[in-house]
């Protein structure tokens, strides 16, 4: 009887998980399907789910109109660069907060998080003027710095949470064995926190990839990433939903593939320390 209940509950849980998963994935699925429709089919009411003549025309038009590879390369550089830079800065910061806390550590952590509460548009003009002065407008290095600064509080917080799960005695033992601070961080702490660091890297990469305020406002031609590529297909006066969907699919495809292959690592990292 107990076995029957367990099986039944398992079936319900599985169904529920699939239903929620599909619900979350549905907008992406719909975008992908729409990208293979004609503009007329894209706006058809009632909507056509699968029974339409599949066409690659939208992809061909988007390829013809835009230099996709340039946008893609910029996205890779900006998301990748800001993530690497962020991790380099955040690992020592999180280490000191986790293992050598002061009485102000909690305040600093909260203050760091509070910077995320300010609407980005509130600092658009100061940042824009700074970028003009420093010659960083429409440059990838400028965007790497801004993306890194935006996501740094989240990286530090995530790493701090992971590091807190690691017993300080292990680091202490390494120190007693004569390990320098650099060796302690590189050869003892980092290997133990790999799942946490990996998931932080992935999450930060995804956040930087999808960021669409600064990337639209601080770029024009040379540094414009895939968010600008998508924005160029959005129009309030004219129906270009199918082309917009094709552009969106091309923009999210790399990050979807990356997420798919690293989902195990991502889940492991995000649930690290959740159950004690």
């Amino acid at each position: 009887m107990a076995r029957a209940v367990t099986t039944q509950r398992k079936a319900i849980n599985t169904t529920l998980a699939w239903a929620i998963g599909l619900l979350i994935f549905f907008p992406i699925l719909w975008t992908i399907l729409t990208s293979f429709k004609t503009e007329a089919q894209a706006i058809a009411n009632p909507p056509i789910f699968i029974g339409f003549d599949w066409t690659l025309e939208n992809y061909s038009i988007v390829q013809e109109r835009s230099n996709y590879m340039r946008f893609l390369w910029n996205s890779v550089i900006i998301a990748g660069g800001s993530t690497i830079l962020g991790i380099i800065i955040a690992v020592p910061a999180a280490w000191s907060m986790a293992f050598v806390p002061s009485k102000r550590t909690k305040d600093i952590l909260l203050w760091m998080l509070s910077t995320k509460m300010l609407p980005a548009v509130g600092v658009l003009y100061p940042i824009y003027l700074l970028f003009i002065q420093l010659g960083l407008l429409d440059s990838r290095i400028g965007l790497v710095i801004v993306m890194m600064l935006i996501n740094l509080p989240i990286i530090v917080w995530m790493l701090y949470t992971y590091f807190r799960e690691i017993p300080g005695e292990i680091l202490e033992a390494a120190r007693m064995d004569g390990a320098s601070l650099r060796e302690e961080l590189l050869y003892v702490l980092t290997p133990m926190a790999i799942p946490g660091i990996a998931s932080t890297i992935l999450l930060n990469f995804i956040l930087a990839w999808n960021e669409a305020f600064w990337t639209l406002n601080l770029t024009a031609v040379d540094a414009a990433p895939l968010t600008a590529f998508i924005a160029s297909y959005s129009s309030p006066e004219g129906l270009f939903f199918a082309k917009l969907s094709a552009a969106s699919t091309m923009a999210i495809a790399p990050i979807l593939i990356l997420g798919w292959f690293s989902q195990k690592q991502l889940v492991r990292g995000l649930t690290f320390g959740a159950v004690k």
């Binding site: 639209l216 031609v221 414009a224 160029s232 959005s234 309030p236 006066e237 004219g238």
Partner: protein, 434 residues
């Protein structure tokens, strides 16, 4: 020594040749719509003729507005040409942010630009942006449904007739709405439509002393008419419908009438996208019986040069090319007269081939019927038909249109919406020192 001098001379010469051969590149910020995308496709022709390379930054209208405003106010210098509208041009021109276009070549024939467009894109008589295409608004209606209803659309209908026709064509069983109109919040969306509707009932945003006028009976009458019309014969959820939503509905045969931008005429008559392409008629935007002003607006997407660009000459060259008669002929030769950018030049409407395009005459009549300096019945201190050309307008009108949209959705009464609109406008104008 001679050899050294000769070598140096040769090097200098070759460097100069390389520099000359290296084409200058201009960057243009633009919106994503059919005519602008088409222009991008012809950029190579311009480059072949002039040697000037062109980089495009295409953005959604609201993003573009924010992006170019930031750049121009901070002198960021990211763009050599900006695509801006009739709202921004006189304000930016007055601020000295744009290069005056008062030295365009004789071949360009600046006098050929439609007077309404030229006035709307000038400040104190100086042209600051060249119109790429212009638009007004008009009634688009289903000729087959009108015929079945036993009605005939007059060339210049009144709102009363529009209501009668909407009632006759409305057919919920067939999923046909009598009329589709914008209700979406936003100064350029539903805000623009209700402002011109207000004009056609004799309402105005401000009196001659810049006092907001939402507490006047004309506004209440206009809003009540609109809400009753849409509640009775409009589509469900019209409070969130903008241009694209109504275009989609009309193209699928779900609207008897649609009053919106004249540029939509080419979309609804295109058989590739529209299921009703061969049964669309056009008429002037309506007015209230006895009110001389009609509910038609005036807008242009125009090309302007931000002050401070290092490439002013090349930018001017591009603007002269893109807004020339030759460009129109180029598009006509390759894609047909129905696809040329409309509403900018008088000569276009004198071309015999273009006169055969079904919506050409009505577009011109609608544009000519719109006067930004005299938008409504009573005198006003501002310029603009569907907007008020002051910097405070965009933010204020967006808030006001949000209140109106809430009334369309039944979340508040018309009286409440108008009272809030009056408060919003009063507060903004007082803070701005009017």
């Amino acid at each position: 020594m001679h050899l050294r001098s000769a070598l140096l001379g040769a090097t200098a010469l070759s460097l100069a040749t390389v520099a000359a051969a290296q084409a200058e590149t201009i960057t243009i910020a633009t919106v994503n719509n059919g005519d602008m995308i088409r222009m991008q496709g012809y950029t190579d022709t311009f480059t072949e003729q002039t040697g000037i390379e062109v980089e495009w930054v295409t953005l959604e209208e609201n993003v573009l507005r924010q992006r170019v405003t930031t750049d121009i106010t901070t002198k960021g210098g990211q763009f050599d040409i900006m695509t801006i509208g009739m709202y921004e041009t006189p304000i930016w021109g007055a601020n000295g942010w744009l290069v005056p276009l008062n030295d365009l070549s004789a071949e360009y024939d600046v006098d050929d630009i439609l007077p309404a467009m030229r006035n709307g894109l000038s400040h104190e008589g100086t042209l600051y942006a060249a119109p790429f295409y212009g638009e007004s608004s008009m009634v688009m209606y289903r000729t087959d449904l009108m015929e079945a209803a036993g009605l005939e659309m007059p060339e210049a209908p009144t709102w009363e007739f529009i209501r009668e026709a909407a009632a006759a064509m409305d057919n919920p069983a067939e999923d046909i709405n009598g009329i589709c109109l914008r209700g979406k919040a936003g100064w350029g969306e539903g805000g623009a439509f209700i402002t011109v509707t207000g004009n056609s009932f004799g309402a105005r945003w401000f009196d001659e002393n810049w006092t907001p006028q939402f507490d006047q009976p004309q506004w209440k009458e206009a809003l009540e008419f609109y809400v009753n019309l849409m509640n009775d014969y409009g589509p469900e959820g019209y409070a969130t419908n903008g241009f694209n939503e109504n275009l989609s509905l009309f193209q699928q045969g779900k609207c008897g009438m649609w009053i919106d931008a004249t540029v939509a005429a080419s979309f609804v008559t295109n058989p590739n996208d529209s299921t009703v392409a061969d049964s669309v008629g056009f008429a002037l935007a309506p007015n209230k019986d006895g009110v001389e002003k009609r509910a038609n607006w005036l807008w242009a997407w125009a090309l302007a040069i931000p002050a401070g660009t290092q490439k002013e000459a090349s930018a001017k060259q591009f603007i002269e090319w893109a807004t020339s008669k030759e460009y129109i002929e180029l598009v006509a030769a390759n894609e047909g007269w129905a696809n040329v950018p409309p509403g900018a030049r008088t000569s276009l409407y004198e071309t015999a081939e273009y006169q055969e395009v079904p919506f050409a005459a009505m577009t011109l009549d609608s544009i000519n019927a719109a006067d930004p300096t005299d938008p409504t019945v009573d005198p006003v201190p501002y310029v603009g038909i569907q907007f008020v050309a002051i910097p405070e307008f965009a933010g204020m009108a967006t808030e006001v249109s949000q209140e109106f949209s809430a009334a369309y959705a039944g979340q508040q009464s018309i009286d409440e919406a108008l009272a809030k609109a009056q408060d919003i406008a009063t507060e903004v104008m007082e803070a701005a020192g009017y």
